[in-house]
Amino acid sequence: MNLTLVAEQALNGLQLGVMLFLLAAGLTLVFGIMNLVNLAHGALYMVGAYLAAYFFGLTDSFPLAALLAVAGTLVVGMIVELVALRTLYQRDHLDQVLATFGLILFFNELVAILWGRSSIYFALPPWLSGHVELAANLRYPLYRLLIIAVGLSVAGLLWYVVARTRLGMLIRAGASNRAMVAALGVDIRLLYTVVFGFGAALAGLAGVLAGPIYAVQPGMGELILIQVFVVIVIGGIGSIRGALAGALIVGMVDTLGRAFLKPVLSTVVSPTAADAAGPALASMLIYLLMAAVLAFRPEGLFPSRGS
Amino acid sequence: MTEPLLETRGLKKTFGALVATDGVDFDVRAGETHAVIGPNGAGKTTFIKQLSGELRPDIGRVRFAGEDVTALSVPRRSRKGLARSFQITSIYRDFTALDNVALAVQAHAGHSFRFWRAAREDPSLTHPAMRVLEKAGLEKRAHILAASLSHGEQRQLEIAMALATQPRLLLLDEPVAGMGTDESQRMVELLATLKGEKTIVLVEHDMDAVFSLADRISVLVYGRIIATGSPAEIRANAKVRAAYLGEDD
């Protein structure tokens, strides 16, 4: 276990963290401001990935495909919001869970109809598929560095919007006291639509970035969605800061855990025991982390509501 | 002098830059009816919540029946005999009036880890509940769903639920809120029957109710108590008139 390997895995952890952040940021705002449990968020991520693959096939230009895919996801998101989600704002969480669950089934099958059930291969264009020499012995894929860069820029942009603009102020206010914002005469409907659109676009962006490195297949959204839930619980609902902190922590813990838990474990217990318990424990790590955080801070690390 | 049944010492609560409760010393003697009045935004609700346990003060202590209860949760304070009625009616809308009160009785009848016997058919719960409903004048409405009761009846139900817990002290938050004259009158009559029997802290805006029921009145303005005294004293107090009652009353 050498330093290069650790550095590489750390970068992978950062990359996963950034992807989780893109998904968590939109979702946590939707949770916090609209009090809407939206399970279909993962479906938007999937739509983004599929659209990116499709447009890339059409145009052969990655940037153009990305743009079209994000725009397309935004449109799909807006349609879903208009048709199905509007009525759910007033409903209780159970209804929201079930309705969005139904949407997941619908979208998973829809993409299967359009593009088949097996995963789609999304090849990177040559200019993106190289490696970068970061340090002696450390060659890291360019594409993953791009993801990290994009993710951190989005984080910076979001920070700017939330901390420095009027819209951001409304978002922060809405996250900590919904009723108050409405009472102040702000057009709540418009705010909701903007926030939801934000979230949908970010989910689509995450899907675009994910396409080339993760499998593009029906159901891909749900796999990552649950990790996103863990991020939000750890970070605190309604808080972008929390989403970032949670995402980076979860990304790191999960990646490093999977890579190094077994070797680390075998220094304390027998190799066979480590072999048996290692992978199981590694996959459970982020949930155990979540449980630990909840035991001490049930509202998450950076809750947006004053308790 | 005997220790007051309820008292606060140096109670302070801030929300960010807003000081909602600013060093409040307050006491209630056993058997008295002590009203708390003040203009809107004076911090009455915040104060009540610190008495009931819904909010923890930043500084200061709350003592009840000789015990420091500052760290105790709402259910625990209730079990010690501190009952509360809410300003915005908070009852079980999908249960009958009888069920509502019976639940309050049940809460103080030991633990409820009983899994077999039907609670609605348990006389040890329903009989005391009916007696409380009679006292509140709601016995004819016992089997009506709470949601179907009139607003005034629902407010009465609030009081009944508080009474059913056999409290040592009643914390009543604007009991006549939103009531018409007849209903208010009936509520005041009900509360008058409790005077002396129970110790009551009454937060109210309705001055008729306050002056007819209260033994003592404390005036809360911007989180501080500016005056405490008998109704006559308060009516005559210049500071109070300026801050609250207005010159022409």
Partner: protein, 320 residues
Amino acid sequence: MITSRTWVLVAILLLLAAVPPVAALLHEPFYLDLLRRVMIFAIAATSLNLILGYGGMVSFGHAAYLGIGAYAVGVLAHHGIDNGWLQWGLAIGASALVAAAIGSISVRTSGIYFIMITLAFTQMLYYLGVSMTEYGGDDGLRLKVRSQFSGFIDLNDPTSFYYLVFAILVLFLYLTHRLVNSRFGLVLQAVRSNEARTRAIGFSPYPYRLAAFVISGAMCGLAGALLANQTAFLTPEFMNWTRSGELMFMVILGGVASTAGPLLGAATLLLLEDMLQGWSVLPKWVNDHWQLYLGVILVLVVLFARRGLAGLLPGKERDD
């Protein structure tokens, strides 16, 4: 209290009781199998209804207990222990224990947190199941020998097995009915109806919710043991979160906080799934992509038929 709802429930139970002889007459053992499956899920849905319908706790992790119960049977069988009493005892016990562990952390939270946390813990168990390669991991585990209750009952006989499941269903329906109307049950409903008020009169919600969570998990564990015997096969998919979603759907389809609801819901959902997939009367493009239509139907039900099927029956506003 006998209402028209009670009669409907009795009618359904009588119908269910009549299935084995009717199926035998028609030479269609398939129905025996299908309805036995419906009843097993009805048991699971009934257990979920306790905390979800009556307690208002939107637990998205209930399928975990189906898995634990099933694996209790499978793992013991794998190691040569076929004794049904032991297997099913472990199914219930292990489920109760895990529910207590998960509940002790989750029940402190509410709302969106609670939903996500229960979901996350179930996924954790799912991944645990997948990584246990000794017990089949992803591919699952075959149950070569069904739970043995020597002398008492032979589960290899479809009819005996059917009536056992039926008896357990009736028992659980009755137990649930008593439970929700007891002091314990009223506290649970009170917390759901108005938590602030419940605290104000002197109840601490946590112990009661936790107890309900554990009872519910234990019941579902037994359903898991039954399911393992039903399919003679178990996989981590039993614990998949989509399975949890299906259970929740059964509860809401049938109508929350009613005794008959989960049974109606389980029957409706499973029969609906079966029909969409297999009914040749429907066009092929429905059969092939039944999940699409199921998804749409479910969304429509949630949006427009909120009170579920039990809500369509005349009767009291709430519990029977």
